[in-house]
């Protein structure tokens, strides 16, 4: 298996990239309009709670990844069944990101390019990165996340002349249930999907820094997303509610002295790089997890067939953007909650009970 080690700092950056991922262009919770920053804040809180749960579990079984924990807690049969569920979750997450990636490119710049011409090269790179191991993924992530954060910070300066703080008012004009629902949506996607890092935590070289690194990454990503969405709403106002890709659209309005115009490449670049890392991590977790499921000695040969599966899933994830958005509005909160709250809770509960039972058995 992968002997690679990453540092706590690299883990932080990975968590950031993964969380920014595809959400940056196709955000959920836009119904909340000008309160989107608040939604993200609440979502971040929810995400931190899920992370706490995962880290508690990890503290009980230090050095073990999620699938190993499953087998330790439930025994081989039920444990493998739980792991299988998570494999499906990773597959859908990765395939969904890949699907959004194609949709985004097709409806903005590469309108006439066939899907496969975009997908196949992408999957090839992702497979290559996955086979190289977590160290290479973490390392190639460093310049990409730096570029993304840098570009977003620069964007603040770029929109100064068209940003209207007024657009962020009124504060909380929607009923609380609406806000809570949207916040839950954001909590499970993108923050909650970080449950995938349960597969990667044992690879960190200084174990005592793991918790801090994860929380740091989540907070960093939350800040970045808050900035970019607030900018979008501040520039576009209510128009942001009818756009499919608001972050993409607001860069198109930027016009500084007719010199700095047509900067839509910035959000595309951000999405491409962050989505790239996200898909790669999904593939890594999938290949690694599958290898563990079958007690294999190496995960590397699995990267290719699972990459192909990701490609197939990406082709059959959603028939249209509107369906995708409806899915995120109606089903995703429950679906995500199952994987980042219910399953970890069951595992943690069982682990605690069994732990107590074992202690009582022992003298």
């Amino acid at each position: 298996m992968d002997q690679g080690r990453i540092s706590a700092g690299q883990l932080t950056l990975l968590v950031m990239s993964f969380t920014i991922g595809s959400w940056i262009v196709l955000p959920t919770g836009l119904q909340s309009g000008q309160n989107i920053w608040l939604i993200i804040l609440f979502g971040l809180g929810g995400g931190m709670f899920f992370a706490c749960l995962g880290l508690l579990l990890y503290r009980r079984f230090p050095g073990k990844n999620l699938f190993e924990i499953h087998e330790l807690v439930f025994g081989p049969v039920i444990g493998k069944f739980f792991s299988l569920l998570y494999l499906w979750f990773f597959l859908q997450t990765g395939g969904g990101t890949l699907g959004v990636f194609v949709t985004m490119l097709k409806s903005t710049v590469f309108t006439a390019t066939p899907d496969l011409a975009l997908l196949v090269p992408w999957v090839i790179i992702v497979i290559y990165g996955c086979r190289r191991g977590i160290e290479v993924i973490a390392r190639s992530n460093q310049p990409l996340i730096l570029a993304t954060v840098g570009l977003i910070l620069i964007s603040i300066l770029l929109v100064l002349n068209i940003f209207e703080a007024d657009n962020l008012l009124p504060f909380l004009d929607k009923p609380f249930s609406r806000i809570a629902w949207d916040a839950l949506g954001v909590a499970v996607f993108p923050f909650g999907q970080g449950v995938i890092f349960m597969m990667i935590l044992p690879r960190v070289n200084r174990q005592q820094k793991v918790a801090g690194a994860v929380f740091g990454g989540l907070i960093g990503a939350g800040l970045v997303l808050m900035i970019i969405q607030s900018l979008a709403v501040g520039v576009l106002g209510k128009v942001a509610e009818v756009l499919v890709f608001p972050t993409y659209e607001f860069y198109r309005i930027i016009d500084i002295a007719q010199v700095l115009t047509r900067l839509e490449l910035i959000p595309l670049l951000n999405f491409l790089t962050m989505g790239f890392i996200k898909i790669m991590l999904c593939l890594y977790a999938l290949a690694f997890g599958t290898a563990q499921l079958f007690n294999l000695r190496t995960y590397r040969p699995l990267a290719i067939p699972i990459g192909v599966l990701l490609l197939v899933v990406a082709r059959r994830i959603f028939p249209s953007v509107s369906e995708h958005m409806r899915y995120f509005e109606e089903v995703q909160p429950y679906y995500g909650l199952f994987f980042c709250l219910v399953l970890p809770l069951i595992t943690l509960g069982t682990a605690l009970l069994r732990g107590r039972a074992r202690r009582e058995m022992a003298p």
Binding site: L296, R297, P301, I304, V308, V313, R316, F318
Partner: protein, 67 residues
Amino acid sequence: MIVLMILIFLLLFLWEAPGLMAQEYWRELAVFTILLIVGLVLSLLLLTGVKLPYIESFWLNLFEKIV
């Protein structure tokens, strides 16, 4: 097209398999082959226009039935 697709998958197989066999990683080879065949079958189904369900639509429908 179908032939081409099978050829591509064969190529993928030949790319990976010899190394595994040389190291006598039989279990790995088996899992690899099974997954590759699943991929091939799904790809062929997509290629021939069989209407595989859309994953998110599937969840949506299921969810609507439950509620």
